[in-house]
């Protein structure tokens, strides 16, 4: 009986190394954003409206717009996405053509560039359906974008549950839906939350598709039908039109903090929901 072999140590070393690389990437990117952004950061920056096309004032309306749009996208995409996942894993036969088709479309949807979603949203929602540049158009477009992530992760989470849970519940006289509600969804929740959180990230970080659908107007939105500029779009404009890189990074900093807060709340509320 000797100690752990050198080979094993080496392999462990590799795992630790990759963990370290991730931490390194994380720290340097977030650190960079914070370092560049912290200079413009103050209470006024967060709580006031932008002036002079964003080169002065704050970013408050963009924070609110981001929240509205993300929330709307989640409200649309989470029920549909999780519902589709439940249907595919619990109702459809794995051999069914329909299931095959939906799975294929979900994966295809996942690979479509956001600019295409944007163009689609622009022509179909903004122009054809006459919704105009609005939170509604943007929210629906974002919802379509994040659907595949939500569905695939939920499917995966359901798939990995031990089949015994299902059998036991059904044998106790629970209906299929009761089994899903009480056993499958609660136990698949961590996976579902992962999907939702990745999606929030995607929604908050999106620009191209939103400029075309939610618009990039700087006002404070009053209703679902008003145009809105999210923080990402704002920082995109600031940076890309050469208005102010520093303010762009300041906005990015706030995005990171917002993501932290939203993730925390999403975790919390979804866990509540499962009870």
């Amino acid at each position: 009986m000797g100690a752990v072999s050198i080979k094993d140590r080496f392999i462990y070393g590799l795992f630790y190394l990759s963990g370290l690389i991730i931490v390194g990437i994380l720290v340097s990117i977030i650190g960079y954003v914070i370092a560049r952004g912290v200079l413009v950061l103050n209470l006024e920056f967060i709580l006031e409206s932008p002036r002079h096309a964003g080169s002065a004032g704050g970013i408050f309306p963009t924070i609110i717009s981001t929240l509205y749009l993300t929330l709307l996208a989640l409200v649309i995409a989470v029920p549909i996405g999780v519902g589709a996942a439940v249907y595919l894993e619990e109702y459809a036969l794995s051999s069914s053509k329909f299931a095959w088709l939906v799975n294929l479309t979900a994966e295809t949807l996942a690979g479509i560039p956001s600019i295409i979603f944007g163009l689609f949203g622009f022509v179909f929602l903004v122009i054809f359906l006459g919704m105009g540049w609005s939170i509604l158009s943007g929210g629906i477009t974002l919802a379509i974008m994040i659907l595949p992530t939500i569905t695939r992760t939920a499917q995966e989470a359901i798939l990995t549950l031990p089949p015994e849970y299902r059998e036991n519940s059904l044998a106790l006289g629970a209906s299929k839906w009761q089994t899903i509600r009480k056993v499958i969804l609660p136990f698949a929740l961590p996976g579902i939350v992962t999907g939702v959180i990745l999606s929030i990230g995607r929604a908050v970080g999106e620009t191209a598709a939103l400029i075309l659908t939610a618009g990039s107007s700087l006002g404070m939105p009053q209703s679902l039908f008003d145009p809105a500029r999210t923080m990402s779009v704002h920082l995109y404009m600031l940076a890309m039109e050469g208005i102010s890189l520093e303010r762009a990074f300041g906005t990015a900093f706030v995005v990171v903090v917002l993501i932290l807060i939203i993730n925390y709340l999403a975790n919390l509320s979804l866990r509540r929901l499962s009870r």
């Binding site: 036969l93 794995s94 051999s95 031990p162 089949p163 015994e164 849970y165 299902r166 059998e167 036991n168 519940s169 059904l170 044998a171 106790l172 006289g173 629970a174 209906s175 299929k176 009761q178 009480k182 056993v183 136990f187």
Partner: protein, 253 residues
């Protein structure tokens, strides 16, 4: 008194993909009696039990032919409400699998989904079921701890309590005593004797003595066939089939 048959199977055949696990089983399960199923491993006992409440359907690639009746109503028809069926025909699985919830929630699960929400009422049911399953004493002070932390035998008794809490009419038990110590086994046997007056019980067991002790009828399965089905006394004293005799006397194979 005439016999009342609670459940019946007619020419019941089950296929897993191409493999035929049941060869056409005809069996009458009398009400308020205990029916024991014996036979070597892999002969189809679990398959038979699982097809009585249509649980086999959950395994993809399974086909069932023939018919099963509960109170003379055909079970394999499109009109049957499978949920009602499974509520009436409870099942204790061969491998006890507790839900990853607390002990209390495991037992309360069934009653809850059947609409009982009052805390008092649930408490009563949980206590009564755990007592019947002879587990109350060991867990009464830790009802809220995760069920997964129980020992093997405790988990098996928890699964029994969970079924009792639903109060079915027929109880199917797949080797419920496999992980139980003699005391718990004895208790379970007493419990079965008690339950008999209100329920119809089908039990799979590998323990011949146990089958002889507790059952009224015994069926001997072999390679997917029901070789012999008769009064327990007859089966054990006077088996008609040579293979049955060999099996119960341990001279088999």
């Amino acid at each position: 008194m005439e016999k009342v048959y609670k459940m019946q199977s007619r020419n019941l055949q089950v296929f897993y993909q191409n493999f035929q696990a049941l060869q056409g089983i005809n069996m009458d399960i009398e009400e308020n009696k205990v029916t024991a199923l014996i036979g070597p491993s892999g002969c189809g006992k679990s398959t038979f039990l699982r097809s009585l409440n249509r649980l086999n359907e959950l395994i993809e690639g399974t086909t069932t032919k023939g018919q099963v009746y509960l109170d003379r109503q055909a079970v394999y028809t499109n009109e049957v409400n499978v949920v009602e069926l499974r509520k009436s025909v409870g099942m204790v699985f061969q491998k006890p699998s507790v839900f990853p919830m607390s002990i209390y929630e495991n037992v309360a699960y069934g009653p809850r989904i059947h609409g009982i929400t009052k805390k008092n009422r649930l408490d009563d049911i949980v206590e009564k079921s755990l007592k019947s399953a002879n587990l109350w004493k060991e867990v009464s002070n830790r009802l809220n701890s995760p069920a997964a932390r129980l020992s093997g035998g405790q988990q098996q008794r928890l699964v029994i309590a969970r079924v009792l809490a639903v109060d079915p009419e027929v109880i199917l038990m797949d080797e419920p005593a496999s992980a139980l110590d003699p005391i718990s086994t004895a208790r379970l046997e007493e419990l079965i004797a008690e339950l008999k007056s209100n329920y119809s019980i089908v039990i799979v067991t590998h323990n011949m003595q146990q089958a002889a002790r507790i059952s009224d009828y015994t069926g001997f399965f072999l390679n997917g066939d029901l070789v012999e089905f008769n009064n327990t006394a007859d089966i054990f004293v006077n088996p008609r089939d040579k293979r049955t005799e060999d099996y119960i006397t341990g001279r088999f194979g």
